[in-house]
């Protein structure tokens, strides 16, 4: 009897914990009311409090709520089945726009898009296009290319290290650009890559960083989302310089983070939502980079004066080249 009771309690707990976190909030009354309220959904692969990739998407959707008076909703979806279910739930509720926050959302977007033609499905990164499906492509590579130049110009050992969570195309692509930037300065510059296999294990990211430092890397760049904090801690302990990614992370470890490759994801979300609201959306890859004001390189003002003036001048020059199109930054996909 007791055993049965425990099993029932356990089962209930399991169900309660597996309930997808879904939150819907109504627009603030002060927002200008369009004829019909736009409904916008967001699927993220992880917690929206990761101070990184997923937090940015949530901020974007909140800005859509505030600036466009939309009604917004969010779900955390980790598996392909959950993703498809999440997209379909927005399609079934006749949402105008549903975002899937990552490369891995494409297949589900295409599938749900065919079933629910009234909803526009946008994935952050990717290449799948259908009449109501399109990817936003952030050209973060433009900024990581510049980080590579900084590393190659300032490194004393001639080696830099990269720590990634999982080898996703969007992550590998920023690493590719970093390498290309570094080798544009010095073709012999060595860039070592490590993947830890997840985005949760800060301890593993720290261990990976220590291995890179041991191997002689004196600049570290990460694409490990939340686990990036482990990277910064390893760099702080050994006073090795590093770079922030996605958000301006310069304040997290101001003594070692030289600059951050910043992506204004919220701005990108608002840009796309505006297009959808005004019926100007075209089914094509939505490129968003430095010229659109979405990607930028943000220096840590505390460490910038320690850089060689030539380094700073070169970064500025190449940035102009990227903006005008004379410098082509390679992409991984």
């Amino acid at each position: 009897m007791k055993r049965t009771a425990v099993i029932i309690v356990t089962a209930l707990l399991a169900v309660a914990c597996n309930q997808k976190q879904e939150s819907t909030s109504t627009p603030t009354s002060a927002a200008p009311a369009p004829k019909s309220v736009m409904h916008v959904g967001l699927l993220t692969p992880g917690s929206i409090n990761d101070a990184g990739w997923n937090a940015l998407a949530w901020e974007g959707v909140q800005r859509i709520q505030k600036e466009l008076g939309a009604e917004v909703s969010h779900q955390e979806t980790k598996t392909p089945a959950e993703i498809l279910e999440g997209f379909k739930s927005y399609g079934a509720k006749n949402y105008d726009l549903a975002f899937g926050h990552g490369f891995e959302f494409q297949d589900a977007a295409k599938q749900a898009g065919a079933q629910y033609p009234k909803t526009i499905f946008i994935t952050t990164s990717g290449n799948t296009v259908a009449p109501n499906v399109a990817p936003m492509v952030f050209e973060l590579e433009q900024a990581t290319y510049l980080l590579g130049i900084i590393a190659a110009r300032e490194s004393k050992t001639g080696k830099a290290g990269l720590v990634g969570g999982i080898n996703l195309p969007s992550i590998a692509s920023t690493f590719l650009a970093f390498k290309a930037g570094a080798q544009s300065v010095n073709p012999k510059f060595e860039v070592k890559e490590i993947y830890t296999g997840n985005f949760d294990d800060l301890g593993a990211a720290k261990l990976a960083t220590q291995s890179l430092i041991n191997a002689g890397c004196d600049f570290i760049f990460h694409q490990a989302n939340e686990a990036g904090r482990g990277v910064f801690q390893a760099c702080q302990e050994k006073h090795v310089r590093c770079f922030g990614s996605n958000k301006n992370q310069n304040d997290l470890a101001p003594d070692v983070i030289v600059a951050s490759a910043v992506l204004d994801v919220p701005g990108a979300f608002v840009t796309v939502a505006k297009k959808v609201q005004s019926h100007q959306f075209k089914p094509e890859i939505q490129y968003l980079g430095m010229n659109e004001g979405i990607v930028s390189l943000v220096w840590n003002d505390k460490l910038k004066p320690a850089m060689k003036p030539e380094t700073i001048a070169e970064v500025e020059k190449v940035e102009q080249g990227i903006r005008s199109g004379t410098v082509k930054v390679p992409r991984g996909f």
Partner: protein, 280 residues
């Protein structure tokens, strides 16, 4: 190659310290006849309470005390069901893990992540002290306690043949408290010394790895230490191999520590005999 291993050794030992503490704790409870799957949740809660304790007092010692306290609460929850009400231990442990993951995630989100959970690096002396405790002092103490004392004999009797023991529950509660002490220290060390703070699911399966190391280490202290050291060194080495870019896919290298530990421990373990009353 020798050079590479020597370089990786110190960071491997420090990085696998939380795992070792968990292995030692789980060894004690399994010797007392319990399988505590909830050790993962115990470490996760300790990782969070440790950070909160450290951030409120700015003292690493208080962080460890808070971490242990957090683990004790989880242990008590497991004990009430598994010892007091004799519920299925596997089911109870799973429930404890789900609860711990949910509760810490909820608190983390409610506190909006951020600054409270970003702690400064821990002083090196404190780190060294914990590493020394985990790798030398605790194994010696456990060896003495479990195999040289009357208390240890009775604790093991609770795991081998509880029918002959008058106060089985009492010894199992003691074992659980020892586990909470060790796993709590491990969880707090993970978040405070190795991770710059708390993050959701940051234990990343260390509790489950600890559970299997206890089994493959044949439920003795020597096996526990060898198994953890093997795992830790292989984990650090595979990162070094990744950095050397030898052309193997990184997924294979990530699996290396598991494969190496499994093969070596199976090789030296020979015939395995679990505590007779394990899980009952």
């Amino acid at each position: 190659m020798i050079d590479v291993i020597l370089h990786a050794l110190p960071i491997a030992i420090i990085a696998s310290t939380p795992l070792l503490l968990a292995v030692e704790g789980e060894l004690v409870v399994q010797r007392a006849g319990m399988i505590n799957l909830g050790i993962e949740g115990m470490m996760l809660v300790a990782a969070m309470t440790g950070v909160i304790g450290q951030q409120l007092t700015r003292s690493a010692a208080a962080g460890f005390v808070a971490g242990i306290a957090g683990a004790m609460v989880v242990a008590a929850l497991f004990g009430v069901f598994a010892i007091r009400y004799r519920a299925d231990q596997i089911v109870t442990g799973t429930a404890v893990n789900l609860l711990a993951a949910g509760a810490t995630g909820f608190v983390y989100q409610a506190l909006r992540g951020g600054a409270l959970f970003f702690v400064p690096p821990m002083p090196e002396q404190v780190q060294r002290l914990v590493v020394l405790l985990a790798w030398l002092v605790v194994p010696a103490a456990l060896g003495l306690l479990l195999w040289m004392s009357r208390f240890g004999l009775r604790l093991r009797a609770a795991g081998e043949n509880p029918e002959v023991l008058a106060h089985v529950a009492r010894y199992r509660w003691c074992a659980l408290a020892i586990e909470a002490l060790l796993a709590g220290t491990g969880g707090a060390f993970l978040s405070l010394a190795l991770s710059s703070g708390f993050a959701e699911n940051m234990t990343a399966g260390r509790g489950f790895i600890a559970l299997s190391i206890v089994i493959f280490g044949r439920w003795n202290v020597r096996g526990a230490i060898i198994g953890t050291a093997l795992f830790g060194i292989a984990a650090a080495l595979q990162y070094t191999l990744q950095a050397m870019n030898i052309g193997l896919p990184y997924h294979l290298l990530l699996a290396l520590p598991y494969v190496v530990t499994l093969l070596i421990l199976c090789g030296i373990a020979g015939r395995v005999r679990a505590p007779e009353a394990l899980g009952r």
